[in-house]
């Protein structure tokens, strides 16, 4: 390639993808093929990635906080989470149906996707790595109380644990219980108490906001 004289200082090492993981290389190859065949455009991929990384659990938290202060809204949220999100001006995302499930003094819900990593990305952002891991996906359905304990959640014996496995087109969002001691807290401050993990069902909101990390 290089036929010029070398009395200057630059590297002729080819620009490579260094330690690119095999999965990433495979995805890149797939993308190249799909673009080449006209199935998708690069712009579609970029727009989709932009959309995904713009999503955060703050949207889910707004839904939960409104449900805590407004019982009629909670009723609508549990009946049709997509419509409830639109009512608050939030983007519920593309087609999959979102179902909100409510934690009560009698029932604690916890969400998993044992087959892959289905997750309400529009309202919670990209899923955490542990949610996609094999240990979480296998143990959440067979030993949920053990998993909850490792997340620091100890439930009383009389509380029923209900694991929801999102195996198909539905995405589940947990509406956690409003923490005791937050009775006079306003909606905006309440939203700050609602963590991502509490909307997956592996954490319980505290009456004071978690320290920023």
């Amino acid at each position: 390639m290089s036929d010029h004289e070398h009395d200057h200082d630059h590297s002729h090492t080819p620009i490579t993808n260094g330690g690119e993981p095999a999965a990433a290389a495979r995805v890149r190859a797939l993308e190249e093929l799909l673009v080449e065949k006209g199935v998708i455009a690069r712009e579609d991929v970029r727009a989709r990635v932009d959309w995904l990384v713009s999503r955060t659990p703050a949207d889910g938290a707004r839904l939960v906080a409104r449900a805590w202060v407004d019982p009629a809204f909670k009723h609508r949220l549990l009946a049709d989470a997509r419509a409830a999100a639109l009512e608050l001006g939030l983007d519920p995302g593309p087609s999959p149906v979102v179902v909100a499930v409510e934690n009560t003094p009698a029932v604690h819900h916890m969400v998993v996707c044992t087959l892959c990593s289905c997750y309400p990305k529009a309202l919670l952002g990209p899923p955490p790595d542990w949610y996609k891991s094999t240990p979480y996906r296998s143990r959440a359905v067979s030993d949920p109380r053990g998993v909850l304990s490792e997340f620091g959640v100890e439930l009383e014996d009389e509380v029923e644990v209900r694991v929801v496995d999102s195996t198909a087109d539905i995405r589940y969002l947990v509406v956690p219980r409003r923490p005791a001691g937050s009775e006079t807290t306003g909606e905006e401050e309440l939203a700050a108490l609602v963590t991502r993990d509490s909307m997956i069902g592996v954490a319980v909101p505290a009456a004071t906001a978690p320290a920023a990390s």
Partner: protein
């Protein structure tokens, strides 16, 4: 169509290829908790077709103790799983 509250068994038939019925509920009996809606069939959609006709999708509740003989939690603990209608059978 199945009714809410009806007891159903998940088919244990072998299936080659992509499908959305988790192995741990195959052959197990549960209770229909809700009927979501109908969705394109992932078993054909995964191979380049339109996935039509759409298949009804149910939320089915299983008792943890029916799924895992050594289950450590309390008796009332449950797992809710979305299962397509063509994987369900009437349970006696």
């Amino acid at each position: 169509m199945y009714r809410i509250g009806q007891r159903v068994r998940v088919s244990a038939r072998p299936h080659e290829g992509h499908h959305r019925t988790p192995g741990y509920v195959k052959g197990k009996i549960g209770r229909v908790e809700r009927m979501h809606a109908s969705f394109t069939n992932p078993e054909t959609r995964a191979y380049g077709t339109d996935g039509l006709p759409k298949q009804p999708l149910y939320l089915v509740a299983f008792s943890q103790r029916d799924l895992w003989p050594g289950y450590r939690g309390r008796a009332g603990d449950q797992v809710y799983v979305d299962v397509f209608e063509h994987w369900l059978e009437v349970a006696e």
